[in-house]
Amino acid sequence: MKHILQVLKFEYMGCVKTKSFIISTAIFMALIILLAFLPGIIMSAQGGNDGDEHQEKPVIAVADHVYDGNKLVEGIFAKNYPAYEIHITDEDVESLRAKVDSQTYDFAVVLNDAQNITYITKNNVMFSTHNEKLQQTLNEMYQTISFEKLGVSAKDSMQILSAQMKINTITTGTDETHNYFATYALMMLLYMAIIMYGQMVSQSVVSEKNTRAMEMLITCAKPSHLMFGKVIGSGLAGLTQMVLIVSTALVSLNTLSKNSLPQNVMEFLHFPLSTVLYALLFFILGYFIYTFLLGALSSMASRSEDLNTLISPVMILVVAAFMIVVMAINSGNVNSTMMIVCSYIPFTAPMAMFARVSMSDVAVWEIILSVAVQMASVYLFGRLAAAIYRIGVLMYGNPPKPMQIFKMLREQGKN
């Protein structure tokens, strides 16, 4: 135990004190602070534009061939596009096209017929709400004018047609829409942490072998102690980095950009403490599950060139687990059969169960079972890794094949 602590401390300090660690953490933190400032900067820039009286408003050209100069056409456009100047014209399509292209007009609408409209725009942006808004405006126009013809006043019909229902949502479980952002962000961190720190442990194991520092270490402490110390030490270093980054993010969002961010964005960023604690729990479990395997596999490599081939199966597992869970989050159903199965498979469980817990309502027994499965895997993988490590660290030359490892493990078991 004393050895594990000593190795842990050495590995932790060795990791935290490296230039690359300090620089990457600093860059991350600076980026986050910068990002937190950004909305404020953008807003104030926009605000400045709004206040400028002389700023020309973009123009919408409407060529009306249907309503015969009805004042409602301009009125309804003006109501729906307050930031624009509405220009009623009788130019033909060609001329409108030229003017839209030269940006004299932001866009142009030609009413050919009550339900047949030509929309001329310079760039049609995907996923923009522009088309929807136009559709809505034109519908409103058609309906209001039609009602007017039937004797309902424009004011009355507009009021009826543009009535908005206010929906008050009461959620009894977890609101999936609510935690979406937080889950996504924390999942991303979880994934990055496993890949980054897993790789770090692998590298450090191989370099100890490569530089033969292992020859000395192995005579001072048991291989299993060396491995546990290294894995836990690097994990703590990773955790330190994560805590620094996450807390910078939280602090700067809550202070620097508190007032500049729109209300709905702030709501996205608000997530319960339990989500953070779950993230921490699943980070620890996931980290150990993967890092034990990576550590054991890397101990088989004598040079860093061999490392990639050895650890790529594990890396593929991490990526696959991440993809599965991300797809489930995006599909909106984090409790699909696939996800339920995944939350009990050691390799996918940390991410799958985390997504489920933070985005939906999961029975307590399910959480306990999943955590138990993961803890058991950590224990088993830890023991297996210690056994492989013991063989691996003193082996040089080509990495052995899986069958050879199995044979050696059996021999070792006999001793």
Binding site: H3, M214, E215, M216, T219
Partner: protein, 306 residues
């Protein structure tokens, strides 16, 4: 203190690496562990260090199974083992603490040994910035820092210049005089002869020769005499003539122009040969029994292959 290795067997998979290996090393003396590459030296050392468990046999100190938590062992591996990219003092203190020292003692020992090696000024440097010979000295400091009772040195002289080799010799002699058990493995036979009272030669996983160097050399027939003189051209026919029957051959040494190698029928005729030379009135510079060199002994016992 006495370190004994009793009847050790070790297999790796199908391959038998050590068979019935037994050794004894006493405090205040050095044991030379010899053998060709792959003979099993490193495996033997690792078994002593407790890195491997033997399939059979024991490692004992003063007759009791070794307790590695109580006995301090300093090991210098052949394949040098330190972190090139870490600060020298940091890693030395770390290794000493893993061996059970507390931080203050480790720091003091680190300073003391680095100064002893003339490396005090490099304490805070990274290891990789040092030359090979200096790295070697750091390695030796790492080995000796915990004030070991058993010192195991695997090729300690490789890469050292003559001045540093002298420094290392002094340090090793100090350790021996201080009562440490020293296990010394090297292919440089001159060093073995210089430090070791006893040797053990491993070949193919078995001990093929063990004992005190003096005894081993003495066990060879002492019937070969080297005579150094400026007149060997005259001496050769003279002794062959005057001691015919007792002198089998008298030939010029291949490596030394002024030395005549004389083979006697029996080592008892030495005195007579000396008398014969003075009778002839030759100017003799040296007269000695030709002992086999360590090199000869090593080659003789390991030539058969592994």
């Amino acid at each position: 203190m006495e370190l004994t290795i009793n009847n050790i067997d070790k297999h790796f998979g199908e391959k038998e690496v050590l068979r019935d290996v037994s050794l004894t090393a006493k405090s205040g003396s050095a044991l030379g562990l010899l053998g060709r590459n792959g003979a099993g030296k490193t495996t033997t050392i690792r078994i002593v260090m407790g890195v491997f468990l033997p399939d059979k046999g024991t490692v004992c100190v003063d007759g009791k199974p070794i307790d590695r938590s109580k006995i301090r062992i300093g090991y210098m591996p052949e394949e040098r083992g330190l972190y090139p990219k870490k600060r020298i003092d940091e890693q030395l203190i770390y290794l000493a603490m893993l061996r059970g020292m507390n931080k203050t003692d480790a720091r003091n020992a680190c300073g003391k040994w680095l100064n002893r090696m003339g490396m005090g000024e490099y304490q805070q440097k990274k290891l990789e910035t040092l030359s090979k010979g200096n790295q070697q000295k750091i390695q030796l400091a790492a080995t000796l820092m915990c004030n070991p009772q058993i010192v195991i040195l695997d090729e300690p002289f490789s890469g050292l210049d003559p001045v540093n080799a002298m420094l290392l010799k002094d340090v090793i002699k100090e350790m021996i005089a201080g009562g440490a058990v020293v296990l010394f493995s090297s292919h440089q036979m001159n060093y073995i002869e210089e430090f070791c009272d006893s040797i053990a030669i491993l070949n193919g996983g078995k001990i093929v020769l063990e004992g005190r160097i003096a005894d081993i050399k003495h066990s060879y027939p002492r019937d070969k005499i080297a005579v150094a003189s400026g007149q060997i051209e005259q001496i050769a026919p003279f002794v062959l003539q005057h001691m015919s029957g007792e002198v089998l051959s008298a030939e010029k040494d291949k490596d030394n122009q002024n030395t005549l190698m004389i083979r006697l029928q029996s080592s008892d005729s030495k005195a007579k040969l000396l008398a014969c030379l003075s009778e002839g009135g030759f100017d003799v510079d040296a007269f000695r029994v030709c002992e086999p060199s360590m090199n000869d002994i090593f080659v003789q016992y390991t030539e058969a292959g592994i």
